[in-house]
């Protein structure tokens, strides 16, 4: 059932590095007649500290975020990774604390953006863009924590002028992994080097993902090597091609 209003959790990486993707996500939701609420105090889902084992620090940040989304509205997140953190790890993080029930209830309201667009809103897109070729990187947490596989492809398949050339190793990690990329820069570099070679072999000028952190990694490596392809968040790509001008 279509809700009247939703919360939008932009994520820190989108906020700082891919703000247009966040705005595009909001516009896609608004176009479906949904009121979008963006609590200003939001910062980060707390995944970096959680993944590094600093769970006290993660709890402090997560507690602050949950308090910003008090109404029983869906919380839509333009990242499979951050959505996965809030949906699948908040209950664990607060296990044995007074906020556990709150965390479980909050987690149940969390949706990844493209899943929300397809599964809850049932969006139909009209492609207004020029012919374009893209490739798709299925981010690990979106794919394997949130089960995000059919939805982004369903959205792309609605765009009549867009050809998707799949990566040879679509399901393989790009090597970001948060602090992994700086704790083990050589291994991370080997992984992203292979990923951008895979991107190059598709010939597509654009690599799409529904996770900004992967795009930061892949995009940084593309730029460093002078490769032609550019990273773009799926939400931005969808909005730019379908908005009425």
């Amino acid at each position: 059932m279509k809700p009247e209003a939703v919360y939008f959790f932009g994520t820190c990486v989108v906020d700082l590095f891919f703000p247009e993707a966040g705005l595009a996500g909001i516009e896609l939701l608004k176009r479906e007649g949904v009121r979008v609420v963006f609590p200003r105090g939001q910062t980060c889902c707390a995944q970096p500290a959680y993944n590094c084992g600093y769970h006290e620090e993660a709890r402090a940040v997560a507690r602050g975020q949950m308090a910003l989304f008090p109404k029983p509205l869906p919380v839509v997140v333009p990242s499979g990774s951050c959505a996965g953190m809030m949906k699948h790890h908040y209950p664990d993080l607060f296990e044995g604390t007074p906020e556990h029930a709150q965390a479980v209830a909050f987690a149940a309201r969390v949706h990844e953006l493209t899943q929300f667009l397809v599964d809850v809103l049932g969006v139909r897109l009209t492609d207004r863009g020029e012919k374009a070729t893209v490739t798709w990187h299925s981010s690990c947490h979106g794919l394997r924590e949130m089960g995000l596989e059919a939805e982004p492809k369903a959205l792309l398949s609605q765009l009549s002028n867009v050809t998707v050339v799949p990566l040879k190793r679509e399901r393989e990690c790009c090597g970001f992994g948060g602090t992994f990329s700086v704790r083990y820069p050589d291994i991370s570099a080997a992984m992203v080097t292979d990923k951008i070679a895979d991107v190059a072999s598709t010939g597509a000028p654009t690599v799409l993902s529904a996770d900004a952190a992967c795009l930061l990694n892949i995009g940084g490596a593309l730029e460093k090597t002078g490769a032609a392809a550019r990273p773009m968040h799926l939400a931005e790509f969808l909005w730019e091609r379908t908005r009425e001008r």
Binding site: F8, C12, D15, L16, F17, F18, P19, E20, G22, L23, I26, V36, V37, F38, P39, R40, G41, Q42, T43, C44, A49, Y50, N51, C52, G53, Y54, H55, E57, A60, V61, G64, C140, H141, R144, E145, R171, E172, C173, G175, F176, G177, G178, S181, V182, R183, Y184, P185, D186, I187, S188, A189, A190, M191, V192, L216, N217, G220, A221, E223, K224
Partner: protein, 478 residues
């Protein structure tokens, strides 16, 4: 590994491995092949989910009754005529094996493949005590010839290509001529090993499943060397980790089917041995004595933690290695551990302690590929995070060996700063602005930035953040 401190340097060993193009190519090719073969065995997701649910439930039930099942296993084995030995440590296990060999004056041992014997460093120990301990699994034979350890738990010589093996055989085996013909190489090894099987006074094997209700030791193999090692010499010694027990005979097929399919993409292995008793009166073959050595080596400690206990579900199929993007690039030796790859990253720190191995759980991008394909549903990714927590912020009463052993004051400070910046919207904005204004001026020598920019450009903070944009667009705050 440093001989003086026992400390390992995974950073150095993994970075070194990445620079070896031959190793990179050998692993990528091999892992691609293994993934394709496994995937072909599980074409139907519904069937795969049903199979792994069943396998996981068999292992979960076995662990739930572990102490009781081990007692039943011992009683059944003794009733069947086996001799059962318990070893708390690998030193004890080695001493038990040596005592059995000395009792019989045995100086030549043939071995089937066994990862527990690798844990024991049995070959080195026996060699130092005047016993020739010969690996008869082809892969194990190859690396023993070259003085190496396994780089994969199922395919121990997977890091070598056929040219490297051809050179090795040419150098190390008398009368062997250089050939890259795989059948000829295999025939050469077979010729050497065949003679050794007949000469050996004892054989040693691992155990894939030990059935408590019947006292049956199950051995999965493809080369027949397992059967030769356990049936030709007059004494058979089986070594197993104490988690290998299952309750009933009917628990074996559900595990066997996911083991062979996950490990090598085979619907079933070429050989499957079920060993229940030594040679009986009037029987013409089989060993006269069968010994079972049950090893703990830290497993009881793992068992005592209700969450980490699931580590012991593992049936050693190695699929988590084949699917790991890190393992695929650095190979098994870089881990400097008996068990490499994702299962090793959760098992090794628990056995060797977090003081020595706190770096291992961090050697993962947490991509969940291992968790997705584990046939007994071990939540490896979740346990990696748990061990990171045990290293940095162990809960009171933690049972993990050397809990808190990865603590770093610098990292504590960094996360305290991170918490401050993300619990105060004002500070978050200030930090974001600082990133925009001063980020480009950050000195290139900063270690974290250096690590990132080796292969990527510096991320550029957007001129206006999403917070700025939503304010301009009048998106409601509540």
């Amino acid at each position: 590994m440093s001989a003086e401190t026992g400390a390992t340097d995974f950073h150095a060993s993994s970075s070194k491995a990445l620079l070896d193009p031959s190793l990179r190519a050998n692993f990528r090719r091999a892992m691609d092949g293994l993934m394709a073969k496994r995937a072909a065995q599980f074409p139907d997701p519904a069937e795969w989910n049903a199979l792994r649910d069943l396998a996981a439930s068999v292992r979960t039930r076995a662990l739930a009754k572990l102490p009781e099942l081990l007692e039943t296993l011992e009683a059944k084995c003794v009733a069947n005529g086996l001799k059962v030995h318990w070893a708390a440590t690998t030193d004890e296990a080695n001493a038990i094996v040596l005592a059995i060999l000395r009792d019989h004056g045995a100086t030549r041992l043939v071995k089937g493949k066994s990862m527990v014997s690798e844990e024991m460093h049995l070959n080195d120990f026996l060699s130092a005590n005047g016993v020739e301990s010969l690996e008869t699994d082809l892969g194990e034979y190859i690396i023993q010839l070259d003085g190496e350890t396994p780089s994969h738990i199922i395919m121990p010589a997977i890091h070598k290509n056929k040219q490297q093996i051809a050179r090795l055989f040419g150098q190390k085996i008398r009368d062997a001529v250089y050939t890259e013909d795989v059948d000829a190489l295999t025939a050469t090894a077979r010729r050497v090993l065949r003679q050794k099987f007949f000469e050996a006074e004892a054989g040693l094997s691992g155990v894939n499943f030990a059935v408590a209700e019947t006292g049956t030791l199950c051995l999965v193999e493809n080369e027949g060397n397992g059967r030769m090692s356990t049936h030709v010499p007059p004494i058979h010694i089986a070594v197993m980790g104490l988690e290998k027990v299952v309750e009933r005979l009917e628990d074996v097929p559900p595990l066997l089917t996911v083991l062979t399919r996950s490990a090598t993409g085979q619907p079933i292995s070429t050989y499957f041995n079920m060993i229940t008793a030594p040679r009986g009166p009037g029987e013409k073959d089989g060993p006269r004595e069968v010994h079972l050595v049950i090893l703990d080596n830290g497993r009881s400690r793992i068992f005592s933690d209700s969450e980490l206990q699931v580590t012991l579900r593992c049936i050693r199929c190695g699929a988590c290695m084949n699917y790991c993007p890190v393992y695929t690039r650095i190979g098994g030796h870089a881990y400097e551990a008996i068990y490499p790859g994702p299962i090793g990253m959760i098992l090794t720190p628990q056995i060797e302690g977090l003081k020595r191995r706190h770096e291992l759980p961090h050697a993962s991008s947490l991509c969940h590929a291992c968790t997705e394909i584990c046939p007994v549903e071990i939540p490896i990714t979740r346990l990696l995070v748990r061990l990171r927590k045990e290293a940095a912020q162990p809960p009171a009463g933690s049972k993990v060996l050397d809990a808190g052993g990865g603590r770093s004051r610098l990292e504590d400070l960094a996360w305290a700063g991170w918490q401050a910046a993300h619990t105060s919207p004002l500070l978050y904005r200030v930090m974001g602005t600082a990133l925009r204004l001063f980020g480009p001026l950050a000195p290139r020598g900063l270690p974290l930035l250096n690590a990132w920019t080796k292969s990527r450009t510096v991320p550029k903070r957007a001129k206006r953040t999403l917070q700025d944009l939503v304010r301009e667009k009048g998106i409601p705050d509540a």
